[in-house]
């Protein structure tokens, strides 16, 4: 469209002094949504990092006689336990604080595994096309058609539950988004002239993929990674909620919601508080992802 041509001409004229990275940074810092999201994630990451300093109690220490205490604003609370205690008399605040570690570890770990699988398959399918593409597409359809919950439960049992197993399982279940995006992006980039130029200069497929294609997928992969971070965190919490994820007594927010569920009519905070934590973490990731996408996509073919 003519008007967009004009506006890019203008932007180009203004931006000619900045490298893509500088433009990227400049836009990031002026994107409110991204800043909010990044702030949330950074705060939660810091909480996770300094959990031992921040938590008032050992999250595993139980006092059976002081169980199910309400939070500080409710009557009958104990000032030692700001957010009350759970069914085993453990400090709820401390468990929430340590819960950040579980969520973040699993989110990052699973999103990385998904990325490894999805990007590899996506680039292969997009670059080679033909039978490779067909085979990978079949794999994709089969994966999409397979109910993930069942897979998760079966795998948890076979391998035995631990945080690493949950990371692996959630990762293995969440590669399709990477695949779909990198596949089509690779197809598009592969048809661009700079790939033809590299091939004409004698580059092997491996060299083309590493040097020409992957760097151009980077921003899209980062965007998906951020979203998958949120999705993986939610997946872990759902699994833990159903009892096939993180094992007690490890503090996982999903597990805490499941534990609080029985008494939720009388002690709604047991369900509400971990839910809010999950919500903040995931919305942080999503805002970051939205921001990154806004910032990277309008560049179109120039970015």
């Amino acid at each position: 469209m003519t008007d967009t041509q004009i506006s890019t001409t203008g932007v180009e004229a203004e931006m000619t002094l900045l490298t893509p990275r500088q433009i990227f940074r400049k836009r990031l810092l002026s994107h409110t949504g991204f800043l909010i999201g990044a702030g949330l994630i950074a705060t939660i990451a810091l909480i996770a990092l300094f959990a031992p300093l921040l938590a008032p109690h050992d999250p595993y220490a139980q006092t059976l006689s002081a169980r199910m205490l309400p939070p500080i604003w409710a009557e009958g609370s104990n000032p030692d336990y700001l957010l009350g205690t759970d069914q085993n008399g453990r400090d709820y605040l401390s468990r929430l604080i340590y819960g950040t570690r579980v969520s973040i570890t699993i989110g990052i770990g699973a999103a990385c595994i998904g990325m490894l699988i999805g990007v590899t398959l996506g680039v292969l399918a997009g670059y080679f096309g033909g039978i490779v593409d067909h085979a990978i597409s079949f794999l994709l359809t089969a994966q999409l058609a397979l109910p993930g919950l069942l897979l998760a439960m079966a795998l948890v049992f076979i391998i035995g539950p631990s945080i690493w197993v949950v990371i692996g399982i959630v990762g293995i279940l969440h590669w399709t988004y990477y695949l779909v995006v990198t596949r089509s992006a690779t197809q598009r980039i592969r048809s661009l002239d700079f790939v033809a130029a590299a091939v004409a200069s004698g580059a092997t497929p491996r060299q083309v993929i590493w040097h020409e294609i992957l760097p151009n997928l980077f921003s899209q992969i980062i965007v998906i990674f951020t979203f998958e971070l949120g999705i993986a965190i939610l997946a872990e919490s759902s699994l833990s909620f159903l009892g096939v994820g993180i094992q007690p007594p490890t503090p996982s927010w999903g597990l805490m919601i499941a534990e609080g569920k029985q008494a939720m009519f009388y002690r709604p905070w047991l369900v509400v508080l971990p839910g809010i934590c999950l919500f903040l973490l995931v919305i942080g990731a999503n805002l970051m992802g939205d921001g990154l996408r806004d910032i990277t996509s309008p560049e179109g073919r120039n970015e």
Binding site: I6, T9, E14, V199, R301
Partner: protein, 605 residues
Amino acid sequence: MSKLLEINNLSVTLPLPGNTLHVVRDVSISLERGQTLGIVGESGSGKSMSALALMRLLPRSAIADATTMQLDGLDLRTLDDRNFTRQIAGPQIGMIFQEPMTSLNPVYTIGRQMTEGAVSRGLLSGKQVERKAIDLLERVGIPDPAGRMSQFPHQLSGGQRQRVMIAMTLMLDPTLLIADEPTTALDVTVQAQILDLLDDLRRERQMGMILISHDLAVVAERSDDVAVMYGGEIIERGDASGVLRAPAHPYTQSLMLAIPHLGMAPGRLGAIPGTVPSLVSPPKGCIFAPRCSYRREDCTTARPQMRDHDGQHSYRCVLETPPTRHAEVIPLRAAGTPVGQDVITATNINQVFETRKALFGAKRQIQALDDVSLSLKRGETLALIGESGSGKSTLARILLGLAQPTSGQVRMLDRPVAELAPQERAAFVQPIFQDPYSSLNPRRRLAEIIARPLQLRGEKDSKVLKQAVGEALDIVRLPQRLLHAYPSQLSGGQRQRVAIARALVTRPAALICDEPTSALDVSVQAQILNLLDDLKAEMGLTCLLITHDMAVVHQIADRVVVMLNGKVVEEGPAQQVLKTPTNDYTRNLLAAAPRFEMTNAEVAS
């Protein structure tokens, strides 16, 4: 009787986050009934924006302002959007756009799109509307118009779609027709037909017409008056023959010299240095001053006034009389380079693609190349000319070894190309592509991009690489400071130079250039064509040039191969083919190419 259209002091600004683009500044135009006003300018000059402002089709955030905006005596500024769209857009002013492929809604039939404007206004009954639509389709030259009514846009060719667009616009009998680059996306032969059709219709209906184009030749042939735009301003205005035969503004003059002319002997082109001005902060003084060879001190202090030239003709410049240019033609540097033996030969190449036209369509075969044979001799520039779909790009990919033909053989350096190692092939021939925006990896710095072919050959010594890259930049006349820049920081012309530098860094013997200038503005095209001439002269490069532009062929080719529907239809020395074509198709191509009816002397006068 008032003029059909009168616009004074039109300005359009486009607020962006952080700053504002001044896309149109202080533009005044007027038009009589039955006349054509041509607006010419390179991309970003504001010519389309002016028309969109008139039609109220600007982007939502844009702000348009004018002191006068009258159509047939009616002050358009007093109409609210609702009345404007009811009374003016459509019934009074019709508009045709550049992209016929996307300007029609793909999910509705031609008939529906033709008739809905009239039907929704309740102007005619259903029967009458249909009758009128069929008549108009017939008038614009669509075969079987009644049958076409129930077809969808994708079933028509590009030229036909543009005809449908024209017919559709005429359904409401507008008094003013705006054609915004109506033929840019079309092949040359179709281009001429559409322009003729528009001209005929204008005369028949006594419509006013605004013809917007980047192509001076198109405007020169079809307009009564011409306005030349640059950087959002009209810098020259007047009757067509006056402006184009005797341009007064230094910019218009330079532009004329930058265009290869079919009618003249090929010579060095007059490239304009520098790039288009920033629309964010336009200079206080003359908008062209930074690139002008007649720049004086007062050029930069205040904006010059429109200056009357000879009553019919005015220009915006500090010079009281237009500068005069020298008439002499500087000969091409590479003229007369000796030609050696065949270095690449293609014999009996066939390429068949199997495609499914639609999701549910049957497989069908497309014969992209049909028994093509050609050879490229050392030191020559061979032009491969043809319209879209003629198979010329497919052939280029096969010659480069990027694709395998269905049958036939390509020999390079007297060996079958399949036997050559990729590195050997790369050392001999390198490609230049059409789109400088997609031919450079946006994630790499220029130094990396240019050094890449050397690295792929196994060169690891960073000193050697650095030196080779530096030399390559020199060859393409790019400053060394750009080494660490990214492609996005460059203009289109600069990018194309980088692509050439990358192709040359391994010192190949031959280049295969696929439409190397068709995505560029004429002033930039001149720079690149001159550069190719230099390279030929300095390095004795062999060059296969793929193009659709006869003027470019004329400018730099030694020999021409004309392709049509995957077949070679004519082959011969360039000047001979251009002067005395033997094939009907070549003749058509030549006849359709827009040209200036003038001589070098006239440019200078």
